[in-house]
Symmetry: C2
Subunit: 200 residues, 2 copies
């Protein structure tokens, strides 16, 4: 036998490649036509896999949407989390976390990929509004982690407060249209929210 066969076997690599094809196909179609105008069939076809296979990678259409969103935001969030680790207090950490995410959103909007925005700010009666919120939820989790680390909160309390704090993301996203709501104001908002809800 030669030294070491690629430890991630062919199977694993195939799986990864397939996942990427799926995300690429879905991203393309969703952005072009809107989430509700695209069927899972069409995504499967575009990714050149069977219907059933698609649901092996994403258990629901909503999860597929999430996969696409996470793909777009993952780098920014990663960046934000790293930056947050450098910070010495909760406020700095949270702002460091949020900035790249907000920037990513701005870029997405600039490139015409507004469907996340539309889902977030649009009619909550529409299907998939909730999934749109989940991308916000990933950031929320990161905020909760920061609160646990810097303020010693328990998980439940941290999650609740994180939800409140992350609402500034909405303002930030709106601020892409309305530049008068500035980052400085956001920071102030985050700070006072921490101070207000936390005992002392």
């Amino acid at each position: 036998m030669p030294p070491t066969p690629p430890p991630p076997g062919r199977r694993e690599r195939n799986k990864q490649a397939k996942l990427e094809r799926i995300i690429a196909a879905a991203s393309e179609l969703f952005a072009a036509r809107g989430v509700d105008e695209v069927t899972t069939q069409q995504v499967a076809d575009a990714a050149d896999i069977g219907t059933g296979t698609l649901f092996l990678y994403a258990r629901t259409k909503g999860e597929l949407l999430l996969l696409v969103q996470n793909h777009h935001y993952a780098n920014s969030l990663e960046q934000g989390i790293e930056a947050a680790a450098e910070a010495s207090n909760a406020l700095d950490a949270i702002m460091a976390l949020l900035l790249p995410v907000i920037e990513c959103n701005r870029v997405q909007v600039e490139n015409g990929r507004t469907y996340l925005r539309e889902m977030l700010f649009g009619d909550p009666t529409e299907p998939h509004h909730g999934e749109a919120l989940q991308i916000v939820g990933r950031t929320e989790q990161a905020i909760a982690d920061i609160l646990i680390e810097h303020r010693g909160l328990d998980a439940a309390r941290a999650a609740t407060l994180a939800r409140v704090i992350s609402s500034v993301q909405f303002v930030a996203m709106a601020s892409v249209i309305d530049p008068e709501i500035s980052i400085a104001q956001l920071a102030k908002g985050v700070r006072v929210q921490i101070d207000a809800v936390l005992p002392e």
Copy 2:
């Protein structure tokens, strides 16, 4: 012709009655079995109408859920809006608005109708998470109205700020479990959020 025949004709009355039957039936079934375990068929049957008719009153299942929630919260919200009208500043008005809604939520939880809570705090990937948020959205609209009246904000700005402020509702709902998060803290949270995001 006699003076005035009942201006709401029989047709209108029939419609109203039917709507109430639908809401009652749906409310019953949703609370008993959970939203996802109930089909629109079953709601239609329970309300003794045809399938198609149901969708005349609620264009989607989500809208039906919304109808049910609004029905439960309508009185409280009405109460809150009236109380808010008495207040002389935005903060007092908003708190006056929120209190009955929060109380209504507490009562609902006490009576075991926790499915709204579960949808709000549960996995956002589940269907209908977004609709659960919409009940919160009605309060949001009321808050926006207050901001427009008391602070002279334009509609867009008011809507965005209202979204942030209404996030205290989440904390309030969580506080039913976690009594350490008090109303006083909520008030402080609302106040500082107004101060922080509004210029000056």
